[in-house]
């Protein structure tokens, strides 16, 4: 009984109209909480002490680490949606992974850029082929590939199914990529190069970091829901234009 109720609830959510109504109710709250968390997180981030070794540049971490975390979480959300597309054929799942791809790419880009800014004083150069950075960069390329695939096809449901396959193949591949990049890096890396990460994180840094991570996560969900809503609207506009063409034909 409860199970069937849960299923009905779930399929209710998959109905785009229900989703739009729900999104309209949730979004203001979600946005407000996100903004509040960002205010607290940024306040904490700028009031805590700087690292004795890295100085103020350590504060980049409060943006860099949450963005890197989101770059991976977003791909997981997309993989779940891809399963939704292929297994349950939810119309909302199609929209969900399409809407998430640009967000994932954006957060990955933030992670890469902040990582590079952070690394500049440490490495003396903007980019090193460090194992972690390189893996994130490959992830970025995968996001862009998925976006390009989505844009290359006119039929949205076919595009959704094909990119879902690509997302899942990529998802399975991520650990393999990570492993091989590590292998490649230790094979070449001379020991003298400073490795990213350094000492374990002190509690002093941990508090603002956790708040920022939470704020970023909520930001992602706010943007994701908005992007899904926009995509639903975009498809409705397209449908209405097709209808308009058909009606005009009937009139004359």
């Amino acid at each position: 009984m409860t199970e069937s109720l849960a299923i009905t609830k779930f399929s209710d959510l998959a109905n785009p109209t229900r989703f739009l109504a729900l999104a309209a109710r949730i979004l203001p709250w979600l946005a407000a909480v996100t903004a509040a968390l960002f205010a607290v997180g940024l306040y904490l981030a700028f009031t805590t002490q700087g690292d004795y070794q890295q100085g103020d540049t350590v504060r980049i971490m409060y943006v860099h680490v949450p963005a890197a975390w989101l770059s991976m979480m977003c791909y997981s959300v997309m993989a779940l949606s891809a399963i939704g597309t292929l297994v349950w054929r939810h119309p909302l799942a199609d929209v969900s992974h399409k809407a998430a791809a640009p967000l994932g790419a954006a957060f990955t880009l933030i992670a890469l850029v902040t990582g590079s800014l952070w690394g500049r004083p440490m490495w003396g150069t903007w980019w090193v082929w460090d194992a972690r950075l390189t893996s994130v960069f490959v992830l970025f390329l995968m996001y862009l590939g998925i976006i390009a695939l989505n844009r290359a096809m006119d039929d949205p449901s076919r595009a959704a199914r094909l990119s879902a396959v690509l997302i899942l193949v990529g998802f399975v591949n991520i650990p393999i990529i990570k492993f091989s990049v590590n292998w490649w890096n230790t094979l070449h890396q001379p020991a003298s190069v400073i490795r990213l990460g350094g000492p374990t994180i002190d509690g002093e840094f941990l508090r603002p970091l956790l708040v920022m991570a939470l704020a970023f996560t909520l930001l992602f969900f706010t943007l994701h829901i908005m992007a899904i809503r926009n995509e639903i609207w975009r498809r409705r506009v397209a449908t209405q234009r097709r209808m308009a063409a058909r009606l005009a034909g009937r009139e004359s």
Binding site: V128, W129, D130, L141, L144, G145, W184, H188
Partner: protein
């Protein structure tokens, strides 16, 4: 004549923005090609800095040829090519404007993306600037040469690969002078200006020869 060609330029730019994100795919291809090089040669920053200009140039060359086969093929598929061919105004000019639109929409983004890839290759500021400048000056030549290949292959069902094969050997001079000008900017003894000016000359030469050849091919490829 100004209105006519502006209309064509604007239409082609609009089309490349709306249809399928060709520029995005080109930039993505460029990034991917350059990014896999370190996996082959290893992450040795000194080595990467040394081969950087060449790698970025080769990547840009391959990416610039990527969407070229569609330059006239889309026009042919929907019948627009017939109308472009029938007009009184010179076909050479029509082809030139189409090349220009293609360069603006698909190749200029590569030039803009090239500094980022320069950073990945651990190049210094001067080297990055030199590569960007030589690409800016040299890449139009790639489009003009490519237009000939695109026009020759316009009626072929799978012209894409063939266009690259036809055009790559013709692009060798552009690559040679682009890369040597980039290196000349970084390494002291070699002067920068001579190879750079030759590159400019090559681009101007192909700005004439490319559209002429493409127009000739389109006229003769009619069916």
């Amino acid at each position: 004549m100004g209105i006519i060609m502006t209309a064509l330029l604007l239409r082609d730019l609009k089309l490349s923005i709306r249809a399928g994100g060709g520029a995005l795919i080109g930039v993505l291809f460029f990034m991917t090609v350059v990014a896999v090089i370190p996996f082959g040669v290893g992450p040795d920053l000194n080595l990467l800095a040394r081969i950087g200009p060449a790698i970025v140039w080769i990547g840009a060359l391959l990416a610039a040829l990527l969407g070229l086969d569609r330059l006239f093929q889309t026009e042919r598929e929907d019948g627009s090519l017939d109308l472009l061919l029938m007009q009184e105004h010179p076909l050479v000019l029509t082809v030139l404007v189409k090349c220009l639109a293609h360069w603006l929409a698909n190749v200029l983004p590569l030039v803009i993306a090239s500094p980022l890839l320069g950073l990945f290759m651990n190049m210094n500021e001067v080297g990055i600037g030199a590569v960007m400048l030589t690409l800016l000056v040299g890449s139009p030549a790639l489009t003009f040469i490519g237009a000939v290949g695109a026009a020759v292959a316009v009626t072929l069902p799978r012209g894409g690969l063939l266009v690259s094969i036809l055009v790559l050997p013709l692009c060798v001079p552009v690559l040679i002078f682009g890369v040597s000008a980039s290196y000349a900017a970084v390494e002291d003894p070699a002067p920068f200006l001579p190879p750079f000016l030759i590159l400019v000359a090559i681009t101007m030469f192909f700005a004439v020869l490319g559209p002429l050849g493409a127009a000739l091919a389109l006229r003769n490829g009619g069916d």
